[in-house]
Each structure stands twice: as C-alpha cells, then as structure tokens.
C-alpha cells in the first residue's frame, strides 16, 4: 500500500522464526555504534597486531639465513604456546577496552528511556533481549580475538606442516576456549553494569574499574588472611590462570586452574543475577 493512502490495514503476512529474532538487536546496535568514527578506527587498529603476527609467523618459517649458515633457528623465534598466549593477552586487553567503549551503550539507553515495556510487550523474552545485547559484543569482540587467532593458527599450520598442527592442536583449543570465555565474561560484566547504571559514562567507568577493584580487594584479602584464595575475585588473574592452563604454561597467579574456573563461574552467576533483577518490563515497588 502506498504511504499516501492514509488508512490502516492489519498484517497477515509471513513472520520471521522466533529463534533468530534476537539478532535484530545487534543489527540496530551496529547501525548506531558505527556512526562513531573513533570506534570504527579503534576496531580497525585492533587488527594491526594480528596482521603483524601473521608477518612474524611467515618470517620465522622462512628464515633461510640460519638454514644457509647451517645453524638451527634460535629458540626465541619459535611459534609455540607462549607466542599464542602473548597474542591472546594483547588482543584480550584490546577487547577489554572495546568493551568499555561499547558496553555502556547497550542497555543503559533502554533503561534511561523506559523502553523495556515496549520490547517485552512483543513476543520477545527477557532472555532473548539479554542474548541479543550480549551478541552485539560477542560478534565484535570475536572479530578481534579468536577469529584472527584461528587465522594465525591456520597460517602457522600451513607454514609448519601437518606434524606441527597435530602436535599443537591444544593451541587451537586454547585460543577458542580462552577467548570465548573472556568474551563471555566481558559481555556479561558489561551488560550487567549497563543495566545497573543508567549513566553511560559511569557505566563505562565501572566496567573499567571493576577489574582494578577486584584486584585491589584480592590483594587486601591475600595480605590480611595470608592466603591466595583472595585471587578468586581478581578477574584478570582468573582469566590468566585459565588461559595459561589451556596452553600448559606454569603461572604464578596463586590460583589452581579449577579455582580459576570456580571464580569464573561465580562472576558469571553474579552478573546473571544482576541482569535477572534489573531486566524487567516493570519494576515492582515494594
């Protein structure tokens, strides 16, 4: 019907599958986010390091100078778990900054504008809403973390051959599991903070600060109680322990891998509880 015919007609056409409806939210979020040139620039800059790593892998696998001199390639130029752990740490830090930039824009505007009743009066659940908002971060952070990580592994595998791939398959597992857990944690913290603090600037500061606050509290607990269990609330230590465990590298974080996983699960549960309490179509005033 042409728009100039100002009459109303009901709709009886086809509907999209309910399972994929949560993807509407990231689409509209990206439309708004990518209006910021700074954000686009930062996202592109986040891909420079993986590009450098690809170049490095190529060079290490093609250093004919050592071979021509008949001496083995120096050990520090090896592409192994440590190399990929450095890559993960660097990209993980960038993912953290990107989360602090994007996270506050996710839920806070909906809450500030009282838009939740409009969302939830439709066939669209709270779970779908949260998954939709998390997927905004998940997709963007994936582009700068595990996707280039897999690419690096692929480049190294193509250069070093099948035997290297078989011997180092755990690296692939570490990249995927490590980065996905990191993204999940960042996303949950980010949406939980965004849901609890309506002011975007404060929400951003909280997302950045929560890691420092956790580390500070952990240090205080460890010092006073003379234990290492305080580190279970230090999110950076938790993640570093999980990552190192995936790559089979010893760490001095004071945490065992299973303790780190417990800490990880606890942070996720707290964030989910915060979301459960805040993401409601109507707040019940007691």
């Amino acid at each position: 019907m042409a728009v100039y015919k100002r009459s109303y007609t009901s709709y009886s056409g086809a509907l999209t599958p309910p399972r994929t409806r949560f993807l509407v939210l990231p689409r509209y979020s990206y439309e708004r986010l990518f209006k910021s040139r700074f954000l686009v620039g930062f996202l592109v800059a986040c891909l420079f390091f993986p590009l450098g790593c690809i170049g490095y892998i190529y060079l290490v696998n093609n250093l004919t100078i050592f071979q021509s001199m008949g001496i083995p390639t120096p050990g520090f130029l090896k592409i192994d778990g440590k190399f990929f752990l450095v890559f993960m740490n660097f990209q993980g830090a960038l993912a953290y900054v990107l989360t602090a930039l994007i996270g506050p824009n996710l839920i806070a505007p909906d809450l500030a504008n009282n838009a939740l009743p409009t969302y939830f009066s439709r066939p669209f659940s709270r779970t779908e809403y949260v998954i939709g908002k998390i997927s905004v971060l998940f997709i963007l952070l994936s582009i700068i973390t595990w996707v280039p990580g897999m690419l690096l592994f692929g480049v190294q595998a193509s250069q070093a051959g099948w035997d290297w791939s078989v011997a180092n398959w755990y690296i692939l597992r570490g990249i995927l599991l490590g980065h996905i857990t990191w993204i999940l944690l960042l996303s949950l913290i980010s949406v939980a903070m965004s849901a609890w603090v309506k002011w975007k600037v404060v929400a951003g500061a909280l997302i950045l600060g929560i890691f420092g606050i956790g580390a500070g509290l952990a240090q205080i607990i460890n010092s006073i109680l003379r234990t290492d269990y305080g580190s279970m609330i230090d999110i950076s230590r938790i993640m570093y322990t999980i990552w190192s465990d995936q790559f089979g590298i010893e760490t001095s974080t004071g945490l065992e891998a299973f303790e780190a996983w417990i800490g990880f699960a606890a942070v996720c549960i707290v964030c989910l509880l915060m979301l459960e309490r805040k993401i409601r179509p109507k707040e019940i005033v007691r």
Partner: protein, 311 residues
C-alpha cells in the same frame, strides 16, 4: 493458529484473577468476560488498572486465577498472547536518540515482521497517525502530542488483533484528541481491531467504548455494556403533560408501554423495544393532551462512574 477473534468471541476473560505485588494484593478476584469491540477501563488512581494491563501483557504473574486473551492464557501462552497484542504505554517508552522510522521498524521486526515489510509498515503507520512529515526526526525532539502518536504507531505496526491504549489522549490538544479518538474508531470499524482503552477522561471512554469495567481497590465495582445502556435509555422517557392524562396512560399501556405517575402531569414510561414515537404523539393528539416536555433518560458515564465509586 486460531485467534478466535470473530465478532462475538470473548476478547478478555478474567477468572478469579488476583495479583499480589510486593506482598500487597493489588487485584482481588476479578471475574469478567469482555466481548466488546472497544472496552473501557476506568477507576480512580491506585484502582489496579495498570496492574490489570500489565497482567494481560504477561508482565505480572497472577497469584490466583487466570487471565485469558482471545481464549489464550496470558502466562501459559505468553508468546502467542503477546503476538496478538499491541501496547501503547502511558509514559514515554522509546529510545530518544533514534528516529521514528528506525524505532518503529525495529519494534515491528521484534514482533516478527521481515525487515523489508517492517520498513514499509513503519512508514505506513507513521503516515497513518499523522507523523509522515516528521518520521525522520529523532523521537527525543518530538512534542508530547507527537510522542503519543509515535507510541500509537509502534503499537499497531505489526497488525495486532487487540490494542491496549493506556491514556492515549494525555497531553493532546483538542484537535489532536479528536483525531486520536477518530483513529481509535477507525481501527475498530475498518481494521476489525479490538481495543482496550484505559483513560481518566470519561468523555473519551464514552465516545469510543461499547463496554466499560470500573475498578476500585483492586475489585470490579461496576460493569456496564454502554451499547445496551444507550438502547435502554432510549426506551425510558419522562413526560410532562397538561390535560386528561389518565386516558393517555391507559392508551399508552394498550400500546405496550409501562407507565408510572411521578406527580401531577408527570409520567415515567418504559416503551416497548420496537415502539414508534409517532404513536405517542398520535395518542396525545387523540386525547387532546399537551405534551410540555419529553426527556430521554440519559445516564452519562459520569453518573455510572460516580454511582460505582459510592459502592
């Protein structure tokens, strides 16, 4: 999927519905079956109108009893019920830095419309409500009246069978109010949409609604079928006469009317359903009787509301 929205079907059915929020009983055993095309929801502040709307939308769970929309339980079949409903909230409920087309398109997509169709319908609905020229403006820059229209557009964009309008004429100037009420009637008559109208303005409800439910203290204190009341009012007349009114009363009773004297020369009559008023004037003329006054009884919604409030 059967929505069962034929003309005589039940739109809303409440069966001993109670809702408890924060330890307080807000709705207390509501039971009613509403079939009207336009249903008015009235009551003083704190009567439970908003809670009832929120329960119909599945926002609140009943602590006892059930609420059904087109025969579907609002809790057990929440998704289906929400796909049948469009909701225009009382307060502003949108993202201020989005333009109207984008916001309404997004809401249509969340209701399940494909992206292209959602865009087309967003434009259509904005033109329909009269925001065609302002559709690319950010919602935050809209005036109060424009915001009401934008809220209406998002409520109807997905073609719901039932629209719940919470104070739709709030903040509208008289022409805009008239236009809003006209649109409500159009949606009801042309698009076959069922409408629940929650308003403090009794005149708006009276102008548009066929059924009215009056709530007070979480209970239904009055249910009125305005259409039937209007018909009944037309059959009830009050007369003032000068002359031989005894013979007049007998003649009217012979025509099927029930008469009662309310003082000298003052009569109250209930006329039969298919009564022709020419017969009344003919009888008066035959009896050489002067008719000084003929009033239809007219219980306004305000009378009904005030009576209900004293209960």
């Amino acid at each position: 999927m059967s929505t069962g929205n034929s003309d005589n079907s039940t739109v809303i059915q409440l069966d001993k519905l109670s809702v408890n929020l924060g330890g307080r009983l807000i709705l207390d055993g509501l039971s009613v079956e509403l079939k009207g095309r336009t249903i008015g929801l009235l009551g003083p502040n704190g009567a439970g109108k908003s809670t009832l709307i929120n329960t119909l939308l599945g926002f609140y769970a009943p602590s006892m009893g059930t609420a059904r929309v087109f025969g579907h339980d609002t809790r057990a079949e929440a998704r289906l019920v929400k796909s049948l409903i469009g909701y225009m909230p009382e307060n502003d409920s949108f993202i201020a830095d989005m333009n109207a087309v984008t916001f309404i398109r997004m809401m249509a997509e969340l209701s399940g419309l494909p992206a292209q169709t959602a865009l087309e319908r967003a434009h259509e609905c904005l033109f329909y409500v009269g925001l065609g020229e302002a559709r690319y403006r950010k919602l935050g820059t809209y005036s109060l009246g424009m915001r009401q229209l934008a809220k209406l557009a998002q409520a109807i964009v997905h073609g719901p069978k039932l629209v719940i309008l919470d104070e739709p004429t709030n903040g509208l100037d008289p022409p805009a109010r008239r236009r809003m009420l006209k649109m409500i009637r159009e949606m009801r008559d042309n698009a076959g949409m069922r409408i629940v109208l929650c308003s403090h303005l009794l005149r708006d409800v009276e102008d548009t609604c066929e059924e009215v439910v009056i709530l007070k203290g979480g209970k239904i204190v009055h249910y009125a079928n305005l259409e039937e009341e209007r018909r009944a009012n037309k059959r009830f007349v009050e007369l003032e006469t000068v002359g031989d009114d005894e013979g007049f009363a007998i003649a009217m009773e012979n025509l099927g009317a029930t008469c009662a004297m309310a003082g000298k020369g003052r009569w109250k009559m209930v006329l039969p359903a298919e009564f022709n008023f020419r017969d009344l004037y003919q009888v008066a003329s035959d009896k050489d009787l002067e008719l000084r006054r003929l009033n239809y009884r007219k219980d306004t919604l305000e009378d009904i509301f005030l009576k209900a409030m004293t209960q």
